[in-house]
Symmetry: C2
Amino acid sequence: MIDLLIEKIQKTGAPIVVGLDPMLKFIPEQILAAAYGQYGETLKGAAEAVWRYNQGIVDAICDLVPAVKPQIAMYEQFGVEGLIAFQKTVNYCREKGLVVIGDIKRGDIGSTSEAYAAAHLGKVKVGSRQYAAFDEDFATVNPYMGSDSVTPFLNVCRTENKGIFVLVKTSNPSSGEFQDRLMDGRPLYELVGEKVAEWGSACMGSSYSQVGAVVGATYPEQGKVLRKLMPKAYILVPGYGAQGGRGADLVHFFNEDGLGAIVNSSRGIIAAWQQEKYAVFGAAHYAEASRQAVLDMREDIAGALAKR
Amino acid sequence: MIDLLIEKIQKTGAPIVVGLDPMLKFIPEQILAAAYGQYGETLKGAAEAVWRYNQGIVDAICDLVPAVKPQIAMYEQFGVEGLIAFQKTVNYCREKGLVVIGDIKRGDIGSTSEAYAAAHLGKVKVGSRQYAAFDEDFATVNPYMGSDSVTPFLNVCRTENKGIFVLVKTSNPSSGEFQDRLMDGRPLYELVGEKVAEWGSACMGSSYSQVGAVVGATYPEQGKVLRKLMPKAYILVPGYGAQGGRGADLVHFFNEDGLGAIVNSSRGIIAAWQQEKYAVFGAAHYAEASRQAVLDMREDIAGALAKR
């Protein structure tokens, strides 16, 4: 799956993943009104609005980017109805040729991680049959519980040609609270990064591993160190845009081959129409605003990479 | 909510939570056959089997224990249908007067954790209305991303009178890989434990905090240290039974007042009918086997506590 992701990144020239993290406040009034008109101000109504909104964005950007990253929490908050919208979104994106990174940040003891890995990347057995429940292409994984919580995901990566991104150094302000603590003079995120390299060596694609890492754009210095520590790991970089990361911060996440990183932007793209910069599009053309925001982001990153 | 949990623990004399982590291989043939007969060997059929199986167990144990802990991964693997079974299980257990601890191990950047907290403990706004999606009483939370990933859960604990259990030292074999690493001579789990105490001090019930901790029964020595470090935190102790923890290992997790810990057993109870010890019940009476396993576990723990 990492090979397919790289192929699509090269084809689009956009090392960009669009975070499909829909909050109701991002959704234009005409979509909310239509969904509530049909189902009322209910969980089903909210889920319907989310789904229609996503569809518009996906249609507008699917030729420009290699991948999307739906954040499952934004769907889970609407319960079962929300998860139906999540599943429809995953399926729709795959139909449109996008690689889907499920931002699920799961991780548990072995037998439980097995169930999560089956739920999101693999298949579950029911009697004599097998089913893929959510069937994303990649998933994000939380490493706090150690190797045996990650191993079931690695197994599924191998058998199903899927991939994972392990949280190493996250983009949020308090990520350093535990991740930066020094152990024998080295921060925890480096130890996790080393493990990512180790886990990844057993799940190689043709040039990069199926096992990538999450390192926030908001921490470029740490990104520089981690880039060297995990040379074969693709880095999924959140925190661009709304969280404060800029194109110039991103260069250290890439390898010399111009590959090795894919940058996420969520609200910076999906809620672009609410920014002054894209206000001219208006609510009716929110998806075109998203498209323009992708084009601008692609240019920002390409410019920063050209300058290094 | 912690006050209610303690009240129920005292009333039942059982500091026990039953882990509702249904795997299809635990479910008696007659239940599988009936569910598959109705819906086929489908995700819906599997979810129906899980739900019927849970119902039987809950009916058999609900007067004996204060709480249950459904592990959401075991439902999530069956996709949306599985999550419908999860929701039915949560609702049914609450109707039966059980405290429900959602074992979800979520945690993300602030705005995303807000969505998870709303999904599982709080309410989500849809237009002018509010809905509780899954509506558990407690949830487990992964702390790897630091305070700002936990804060949204704390806020919901305060506004909705709910609680959380933060992963501190987990029960699995490789939990030490990161959690035991020394920082300034102290293991990471102690630093997380200190944070739990700090977070908890702002969310107090009448004697214990709404913010508890997960510490595995398989690590009694670490439990002893953590017990002192977080005197007001209830400790949720997984790893009893199938994972190797015994009653004698548990005493250190309790405070002098006989409170402060609640011990989880999952397959040791829900799949008791498959053990030689309870084979006499047979598949038809699987739920009675679970009831007997709870009684035996209660005795094991009470005996160990009496001896200390």
